[in-house]
Every structure is written in structure tokens, then in C-alpha cells.
């Protein structure tokens, strides 16, 4: 039995530990000189692909990232974790500022077709824009079934059995391949890229492409008007008695007088 082929989307985002600062002109957040790393949900997706490969369910893992040159950084991490090769779809920084989930979904679905993969794996969302759209859009564009927010994945004859976290419980669904799967936080614990694997990944192929190679127009259809800091939380006050609390609530019109 030949194993299934997987495409994993790896977005480069500002590192989770970095304190985000808004640019003075409110056009976005400061990214220059800021540490970036792979979107943690995508890391979970890479890990899942690698585990499926270790179980001999998957035969090849292709990592893909859309964005500026530095995206190769996260692709190298993906290859050090176990992806077999990588595709970097280069988008210049100015265009990348306005790249939207639909653009990425179009590119990834073309890549999926061209690479003849059976499964697209991505994080359920990226920790920068929290859009939670790309995976779903890929499924729609390809007209493939989707299993989002996966917290457990099993292979049964030609199908994937996926446990999903939903409001109020867990849902088990089956999807037929080819399919799109997005990963939730509790699916797995991604491994460290070990030093020997970092060095081995040097030899793995990384191909450079552009959106034009896939015939995708990346002209923005939405415009970001303003990016602002969330409002600073107001300091609270300590009250001495219940009466005082009731009075305060009444003053605020939160309970009837």
C-alpha cells in the first residue's frame, strides 16, 4: 500500500513570547527586528504529519509557506522536524502585508493539486491574525471534505476518523480522502528539532515559487483601516461591605433601584 501524501501549511508569525507593539501610524504591528517562529498550530500540524509518517500511514510530507524570504526559516524547522521537502511561495514584504487568507488558500489548493497530495494539514488558525479561515477555504476551493479543530486523528480504510473539540463536548467524524484537516491545541505535543536533524534538513530540497507560478492573483480585496492596542484594563477597587457593593451596582444601573 502506498502511503498518503501530505501538504502542511507553515505560517511564519511573530513568536508567541514577544510582546506585540502597534506601529505608531496604526497601519499594523511592529515586525522589524522582532523574533518570529512557526505558528504553534502549524507546528502541531507538522508533528501530526510526522507521526503519521512514522506509523507508515503517510509516505511523503511537503511543507509550504507563503511570504517573504524569511519564511524559509520556518520551512527549515519543518524539515528538521521531519518534513521531506519544502516549497516557499515568495511574496514580497509589501504585498505580504496585505495577503489575506483567501490568497493563501488559493495558493495552497493549487500546490495541493500540483503535488497530488491526499491530505492538507494546517493549524486551525495563526496566532497573529487569528483568522481561522485558510483550512476551510482550501476545502471549499478544492471541494474536499474538511475536519477542523482536530484533537485526535486515526486512519481507517481510506478514511480518517477525527475527534473534534466543539462547544459542550467532543465530536467524532469520518472524512474520506482527499481531505483538509486543521489542528487544535491538544492534538499532540510537537517535538524539538534536534541538532542532527537540523543539519540533515540542510540537504532536503527547498523549492522557490511565486503566486504567479500558480496563477493566483494576490491583489488585496480588503483594506486594513486601523490597528489599535486593546483598551487598557481599568484598575478595580476593594469594597468593605456588601452594602457598598450593592450601592455601586445600583449607581452603575446594573441592578434595579
Amino acid at each position: 500500500m502506498s502511503g498518503i501524501r501530505v501538504l502542511v501549511g507553515c505560517k511564519r508569525v511573530i513568536d508567541y513570547a514577544v510582546k506585540i507593539r502597534v506601529k505608531p501610524d496604526k497601519s499594523g504591528v511592529v515586525t522589524d527586528g522582532v523574533k518570529h517562529s512557526m505558528n504553534p498550530f502549524d507546528e502541531i500540524a507538522v508533528e501530526e504529519a510526522v507521526r503519521l509518517k512514522e506509523k507508515k500511514i503517510v509516505s511523503e510530507i511537503v511543507a509550504v509557506s507563503c511570504g517573504p524570504t524569511q519564511c524559509q526559516e520556518v520551512l527549515r524547522t519543518a524539515m528538521a522536524m521531519g518534513a521531506d521537502r519544502a516549497i516557499h511561495v515568495e511574496v514580497d514584504p509589501a504585498t505580504y502585508d496585505h495577503l489575506q487568507p483567501l490568497h493563501v488558500a488559493k495558493i495552497l489548493s493549487k500546490v495541493a493539486q500540483e503535488e497530488k497530495v491526499d491530505l492538507v494539514l494546517t493549524g486551525k488558525q495563526a496566532i497573529d491574525d487569528d483568522a481561522n479561515q485558510t483550512g476551510q477555504m482550501i476545502a471549499a476551493l478544492l471541494d474536499w471534505p474538511q475536519a477542523t479543530f482536530a484533537s485526535k486523528v486515526e486512519k481507517t480504510n481510506g478514511e480518517l476518523k477525527v475527534l473534534r473539540e466543539i462547544d459542550g463536548g467532543l465530536e467524532t467524524i469520518k472524512v474520506r480522502l482527499p481531505a483538509v484537516l486543521t489542528t487544535d491545541l491538544r492534538l499532540n505535543q510537537p517535538r524539538y528539532a534536534t541538532l542532527p536533524n537540523i543539519m540533515k534538513a540542510k540537504k532536503k530540497p527547498l523549492v522557490k515559487k511565486t503566486p504567479a507560478d500558480y496563477g493566483v492573483d494576490v491583489t488585496p480585496r480588503q483594506k486594513v483601516l486601523k490597528v489599535e492596542d486593546p483598551p487598557v484594563r481599568q484598575a478595580g477597587a476593594k469594597l468593605a461591605s456588601v452594602e457598598e457593593l450593592v450601592a455601586k451596582l445600583r449607581d452603575a444601573g446594573l441592578i434595579p433601584t
Binding site: 524570504t69 524569511q70 526559516e73 528539532a193
Partner: protein, 431 residues
């Protein structure tokens, strides 16, 4: 003593250089033009390419998950679980960076070791980076370069994988920086050595499985009568006398060890008998660079933490940081750290090229020792009473890093070496 070191170094480094050049050309050259920028805005990319940084990232993740959450506990216990921590590092390949592939290493050039040492600085104490340094840069380099296949399989390979913990036995009660003066003796009986004497200040000493032990194997001139011996620590006659109490480096155990008729096969001598002193001097070079590299992150951490603290701390209705003496001092210290970093990177670059860096490595170590004292003292002062408590990282680093000026060749030894190069050291006769 130092002239000897200088004469030996270039030869052995020259032997290593072909590998180094090859790694450099595959490593950084390909990526440097375009990729250097995004990784850092402050010049880390001069000796580090993308793979160095990726490696540091991976190591920092391990530190954040498997080491830092436990450091306080280990400090309180006065010991960290070396086998557990080394296994984690060994599994990820961090204990054999420059070591031969045949024994589980990666055969990378020294810049990768330096990058690792620098990343180890993110551990919230001085003790663990030091313990790791003993394993990778003090107890094993001579074994890797000169040891027999048998010794490398027995001691090097399991030290690279993290299954064995190593210690280095050089210092004695009467000989530390003065290495030539050690008294521990090995006499010969058939195919065995019989070791008598003792070692002092042995980092990892209570936990180690084996010691890279410097002993006198014959009478005669102090530079040609010593040998390095791989000594399993479970042999009869070895007594780990005590875990020495120190003002800092609490989670790193430091032992005094006695040898009484310890039998060890002669085949456990590393390389040639009588060459131990020279091998040991070689090991010292990388140790100095390692020590300097591990200081950078703590230096920056102390300055950053002090900025945070003094910004919050109000004195006379003003953040303390607004006092000119505070923000100017911190700026000056930050400038000094950059100078140290620059010197270290230049030294590493030259070392990787195959040049003799004895003088520069000694300068790095000297200035690192001086600077950690200055920075920790000045920062601690700005923390006031809080700085005098055990609860803050500045006070821990103040205690821990005081050792940099003492261990691995004291400041005064570094000064002597620099003086040798300046031709200003008066002739000394050994009594």
C-alpha cells in the same frame, strides 16, 4: 608555562581546519547575503548563520520546558539531576557538537559550540551551563582528539548521548590554576596504573560516572610527566569525600575526591603517556571561549531585569529608572556587553579559521570575569533591598557568576598569559 601552550596550539588547530572551512562554506555562505538581516538586529550573524540560530531556538525551547521550571527547586536541593538533564540534551544532539560522527557527534566547527554555550546562558542559573560545559568542553575534547577507539566507545560515545556524566579532575588542594604542580600519582603494576592522591573543586563530582583525570605517571619535568586517564568513578578506592558548600552555583555539585590505591588499566590513558599536560592545555582554550559565551545572556538578562524593576520602582514619586545615574549606568554596561560580544565573535571567527587564539581567548575570559562582576554588582545595587534577597535572579547571578573570575584559570592567570604575549612577564623560576 604559557609559551608551551602557544607553541602547541597552532599545530593541532591546523589539523582541524579543513573540516572547519568546509562547514563554513556549506553553512553560512549560502544564506548570509539575504538571510542575515531578519534573524537579528544586533549583529549575531557575524559568526552565526541560520542553522546556528535554529539550533539556539531549539535549545531555548528545551530550556524553557525541561530546565528553567525546575531550577529553583534544584538550587534549593543544592544539586540538579545531571543524568536527567544531560539525557535530554544528549537526545537532541547538544552534547557532541564538535565531536566525531563515529561516536555520535556532529563534527561541526567550534562556532556551533559557541552558539550552544551562548544559548545555555538562558538557563536561570550559572550552575547548569557550567556542568554542561564540563561535559562538552572540558572533560571530553582531549579524549575525542587523542583517545583510542576503545576509550572513545567506552567513555566518549555515552557522554555524547547523555547516558554518562563526566567530570574533569585537574585541580587539587595545592594546584588549581597552577596545573603543573599537581601531586596525584599513578604508579605502574603490570598492565595497571595504581592511582593515589586526590582532586578538589570537582564540578559534577558527586554524580559523575567517569573522570577525565590528570595524574603524574612518571617523575621528571612537570610538562611531560602527566597523563590524562579515563577513570570510572565506581572503582574501589575512590571516595567522594564531600559536596563542597559554595556561595553560588548551588545546583551544581562540587566534590572533593580521594584516591587510595585505585587500579585502572593502562589502556585508559588518553593518547600518549606523558602528554597529559599538553592535552589539558588544549582543552583549556575552548573552555575559555565557552565560559565567555555563557556569560552574554545572563549579562543582558541582568540589565533587562534591572530596567524592568527600576521602571516600576518609584522613589520620590518617580520611577527609579528616571535617575540619570541609573539609565546612564545601564547604557554604559550594555555598551560593555556589546564590546565583549564583539571580541568573543572575532575570536571565534579566527579560531574557526584555524588561527591560534590563545591571546584573544584569554582576553575574552578575563573581560567576561570582570564584566559579570561589574554588571551584577551595579545592577544589584539598583535593586536595593530586593537585590539582597534570594528571590531575585540578579542576586543569584551575582553569586553564581563571581566564579567566572576564579574558575577555568583565574583572572590573574589570564593576565599572565596576556603579559607573555606582551613580553612583560618577568622570568619566573619554579622552586
Amino acid at each position: 608555562m604559557a609559551t608551551k601552550i602557544i607553541r602547541i596550539l597552532p599545530r593541532s588547530i591546523g589539523r582541524r581546519s579543513p573540516t572547519i572551512v568546509r562547514h563554513l562554506s556549506t553553512g553560512s555562505a549560502v544564506f548570509q547575503e539575504k538571510e542575515a538581516q531578519p534573524f537579528s538586529s544586533d549583529g549575531h550573524d557575524i559568526v552565526y548563520g541560520p542553522y546556528h540560530l535554529q539550533m539556539q531556538d531549539s535549545l531555548k525551547k528545551i530550556i524553557d520546558k525541561d530546565i528553567n521550571p525546575y531550577v529553583d527547586e534544584w538550587e534549593a536541593q543544592r544539586k540538579f539531576p545531571a543524568h536527567r538533564v544531560f539525557k535530554v540534551l544528549g537526545d537532541s544532539g547538544f552534547l557532541g557538537i564538535t565531536k566525531p560522527k563515529a561516536y555520535g557527534g556532529l563534527e561541526l566547527d567550534y562556532s556551533y559550540s559557541a552558539a550552544m554555550a551562548e544559548a545555555l546562558g538562558h538557563i536561570n542559573c550559572g550552575g547548569i551551563p557550567m556542568a554542561v560545559g564540563v561535559q562538552t568542553d572540558m572533560a571530553t575534547p582531549a579524549l575525542a582528539k587523542f583517545g583510542s577507539d576503545y576509550l572513545k566507545r567506552e567513555f566518549l560515545a555515552p557522554s555524547i548521548s547523555g547516558d554518562l556524566v563526566a567530570c574533569i579532575g585537574v585541580s587539587e588542594t595545592g594546584a588549581g590554576s597552577d596545573v603543573a604542580n599537581i601531586q596525584t600519582k599513578a604508579s605502574r603494576k603490570g598492565d595497571d596504573l595504581i592511582i593515589n592522591g586526590g582532586k578538589m573543586w570537582i564540578t559534577n563530582g558527586t554524580q559523575a560516572d567517569w573522570m577525565c583525570c590528570l595524574v603524574n605517571t612518571s617523575e621528571g619535568k612537570p610538562h611531560v610527566n602527566k597523563s590524562l586517564v579515563c577513570l570510572p568513578m565506581n572503582l574501589p578506592g575512590i571516595t567522594v569525600a564531600k559536596n563542597i558548600k559554595k556561595i553560588g552555583m548551588w545546583c551544581s555539585d562540587t566534590a572533593q575526591i580521594f584516591f587510595e590505591d585505585v587500579y585502572v588499566p593502562r589502556s585508559h590513558i588518553i593518547g600518549e603517556e606523558g602528554q597529559g599536560f599538553l592535552y589539558q592545555m588544549l582543552q583549556f582554550q575552548e573552555e575559555r571561549l565557552f565560559a565567555t559565551a555563557t556569560c552574554l545572556a545572563p549579562l543582558e538578562k541582568m540589565i533587562a531585569e534591572t530596567i524592568n524593576y527600576t521602571r516600576e520602582r518609584k522613589v520620590f514619586n518617580q520611577p527609579l529608572l528616571n535617575s540619570q545615574i541609573v539609565h546612564f549606568t545601564l547604557a554604559e554596561l550594555a555598551a560593555e556587553v556589546e564590546l565583549l560580544r564583539s571580541t568573543l565573535y572575532r575570536t571565534i571567527a579566527l579560531y574557526v579559521k584555524g588561527q591560534d587564539v590563545t591571546r584573544l581567548a584569554s582576553i575574552c575570559k578575563l573581560k567576561a570575569g570582570r564584566l559579570v562582576r561589574e554588571v551584577s554588582d551595579k545592577c544589584l545595587q539598583f535593586w536595593g533591598g530586593m537585590g539582597y534577597t534570594e528571590d531575585v535572579i540578579v542576586s543569584r547571578l551575582y553569586r553564581d557568576l563571581r566564579l567566572v573570575s576564579i574558575g577555568g584559570g583565574a583572572d590573574e592567570v589570564m593576565l599572565s598569559i596576556i603579559c607573555k604575549f606582551m613580553n612583560t612577564l618577568p622570568n619566573q623560576r619554579r622552586q
